[in-house]
């Protein structure tokens, strides 16, 4: 049937649908444009850039080298060291950050007097920025005005220049900064645990400890998985602490050259966008892996439950 012979209602119905669709696209467009230009395009660009070698001097055309560069970067000692530090950092920050957060959340979970105050305090580091945290801890760890010497901890060279202690120092600061988020997430998870289930366990004669480990924690496991991912991604993306407290010029720099810092250095200092693209993709894969792992774990848990 040709359009001209359609009944008028069918035609107006269609034009109404077209108008609705047009409006839909129009409303989605602003966000989509931002995503296109600043998320998807630059993300995809990494795959192209990774195949081109940036020349040592600006102005020269970059050269297609295929996967050669990818292999080169991934096998370079700089990358391996950066990756090693990053993973080490994750190990130092994630379990500690989550455990302390969980502990505080459990302690503050009861409806008791003054609990609101404790809750605000525990979640307070959610709002402290990286720069603020870095300055605060930079002062506390300062060899002159800091508290370390007074506490009898005075490594030499000073802690933030110290190849052994710089990374743990950054990790301590990061655990503190992450604590707020950890606490908030764990608290939310705890309050989603149905009280009746806990009461049922208590009535069945379980001690508080048993209730916690056998009932609360398993019920909390989706939250813990979620926290694990958030914490790991937080650790992977750490940058400001290193930039402010360690920096390029520190003697300990090579041991605290976390991945994002390495990426930025490669862009800004070395100005080799091809190599930076390879590093970016490595970071992406790490993040993706963690997220997928969480999905798998949560799924498996659901299977158990079923």
């Amino acid at each position: 049937m040709s359009r001209g012979r359609e009944s008028p209602p069918a035609r107006t119905r269609r034009s109404r649908a077209v108008r609705e669709a047009a409006l839909g696209y129009l409303l989605v467009l602003p966000a989509l444009a931002v995503f296109g230009v600043f998320v998807f395009y630059p993300f995809a660009e990494n795959f192209r850039l990774a195949l081109y070698q940036t020349p040592p001097y600006p102005g020269l055309p970059s050269r297609y080298v295929g996967l050669h560069q990818v292999g080169q970067v991934l096998a370079s000692s700089g990358f391996l060291q950066s990756l090693g530090s990053t993973l080490l950092f994750v190990v130092m920050v994630v379990p500690a950050g989550l455990l302390i957060g969980l502990l505080l959340a459990v302690a503050a979970h009861r409806r008791l007097r003054a609990m609101a105050v404790y809750r605000v305090i525990f979640s307070s580091t959610v709002v402290t920025s990286v720069a603020v945290s870095a300055l605060v801890f930079g002062t506390l760890m300062d060899p002159v005005v800091g508290l370390l010497p007074w506490l009898g901890l005075n490594p030499s060279p000073p802690i933030l220049q110290n190849t052994t202690w710089a990374l743990p120092a950054i990790a301590v600061m990061s655990v503190w900064q992450f604590l707020g988020l950890s606490f908030v997430v764990m608290s939310a998870g705890l309050s989603a645990v149905p009280e009746e289930v806990l009461e049922a366990a208590r009535v069945d004669g379980a001690s508080e400890r048993t209730v916690f480990w056998r009932v609360t924690v398993p019920l909390l496991s989706p939250t813990i998985f979620f926290g694990l991912v958030v914490a790991t991604i937080y650790a992977f993306q750490t940058f400001g602490q290193v930039d402010i407290l360690i920096g390029y010029s520190s003697a300990a720099f090579e041991h605290v050259n976390l991945l994002v810092y390495d990426i930025l250095n490669t862009i800004e200092v070395a100005k080799t966008s091809g190599q930076a693209a390879v590093l970016s993709l490595a970071l992406f894969l790490l993040t993706l892996g963690v997220t997928l792992l969480q999905l798998r774990l949560v799924e498996r848990r659901v299977h158990y439950a079923a």
């Binding site: 008028p8 209602p9 107006t12 119905r13």
Partner: protein, 361 residues
């Protein structure tokens, strides 16, 4: 104000018709009740008038004009939803005022109208409250007020009483009838409650599976149901239906389980043409009487105040209800009784399609 009509309106969802080829006219100023069981397409029909659902076939006519292509907002009809659909963030006054704001009514006039309407529904005290601070009945009245305030050409009401308790339902039923009479606005009223339909409607249209079964004034539907579905759906309890066979070719009686019933003349004439037959008798046309033509056993005796319903077993399969005055002597459960059928009260239907063959009226 305007008349409303469906002309061959059909609406399908995933190929399954929810309303099928509906032809129905609502006269100007009439209160027409759309009655039918759950899922029969009442809401769908109503939504087609509102423009919230587009008919796949046929036309919707309001005020003599085909409105298929008219946007809902331009159809000038007001709807009262089953859920009332009050705006939760606006207080009662704002809720009632809401439709007026889009109609270029100035603030002064708006205020006055809202207060008039609120007063007419006894809502003056509640104007500052939010919907969640109201009782079900109060919410219902706010929803009515919001429909009235627009002075639309027609009201569409979708089971507006179903969320109210029994006593309030009775009261509000009367209020809506009075209101509609006063305003004279064409009203299409949807319900699955046959009592509501009987007491409120100028006319009733009965739907089943999307198909119109019968339209007419309440008494006409009650006295001359077009088919078994209507016969059983109207009345509480509904009509007793008994499978029957004719006794001889020109007999004036039909044989049923446990006895026989007398037929009217036309019923006999028509029933000669069909193989299987069903007869229907309303409970009030039956009486326990030693001279009755049906033999039965009492299963249950229910006292409802003024009335008594006696549930009886006829033969092996058939049950029927006899309605008695409470003052009449009551049988005991298990008693053997005889039931008399009032002369000229027996409806005759075909056994297969359920269509009416004859009966009183």
């Amino acid at each position: 104000m305007a008349d409303v009509a469906f002309r061959g309106a059909t609406k399908r969802f995933d190929r399954r018709p929810a309303v099928e080829h509906l032809d129905l006219e609502v006269a100007d100023g009439e209160l027409l009740v759309l009655l039918g069981p759950s899922g029969c397409g009442k809401t769908t029909a109503l939504r087609m008038v509102a423009g919230l659902e587009e008919p796949d076939e046929g036309e919707i006519v309001i005020g003599g004009r085909v409105v298929n292509d008219v946007e809902p907002k331009d159809r000038d009809v007001a709807m009262v939803f089953q859920s009332y659909a009050l705006y939760p963030h606006l207080n009662v006054e704002r809720n009632i005022e809401f439709p007026l704001r889009r109609r270029g009514v100035d603030a002064q006039r708006r205020r006055q109208t809202v207060h008039e309407v609120a007063a007419s529904l006894g809502l003056q005290e509640l104007l500052a409250r939010k919907p969640r601070e109201l009782s079900g009945g109060q919410r219902q009245r706010v929803a009515l007020a919001r429909a009235i305030v627009r002075q639309p050409r027609a009201f569409l009401m979708d089971e507006p009483l179903s969320n109210l308790d029994a006593a309030l339902r009775l009261q509000t039923r009367a209020d809506i009838v009075a209101l509609q009479a006063r305003l004279g606005t064409t009203t299409l009223y949807v319900t699955h409650d046959q009592v509501e339909a009987m007491t409120m409607g100028h006319r009733i249209a009965v739907l089943d599976h999307g198909v119109l079964q019968q339209v007419g004034p309440p008494h006409a539907l009650y006295d001359r149901p077009a088919n078994l579905f209507v016969a059983k759906f109207l009345g509480s309890p509904g009509m007793n239906v008994l499978p029957a066979t004719l006794e001889g070719t020109a007999a004036h009686v039909a044989r049923v389980d446990g006895g026989h019933v007398p037929l009217g003349d036309d019923g006999v004439a028509a029933s000669g043409q069909v193989a299987s037959l069903a007869v229907g008798v309303r409970p009030e046309h039956l009486a326990l009487s030693p001279s009755g033509t049906l033999e039965a056993k009492v299963l249950l005796v229910e006292l409802l105040g003024a009335d008594v319903h006696v549930l009886c077993q006829l033969g092996h399969q058939t049950k029927l209800v006899v309605r008695q005055d409470a003052s009449a002597p009551r049988p005991a459960i298990g008693d053997g009784v005889r039931i008399a059928v009032a002369r000229g009260s027996v409806h005759v239907f075909t056994g297969e399609s359920g269509g009416r063959l004859g009966g009183p009226g």
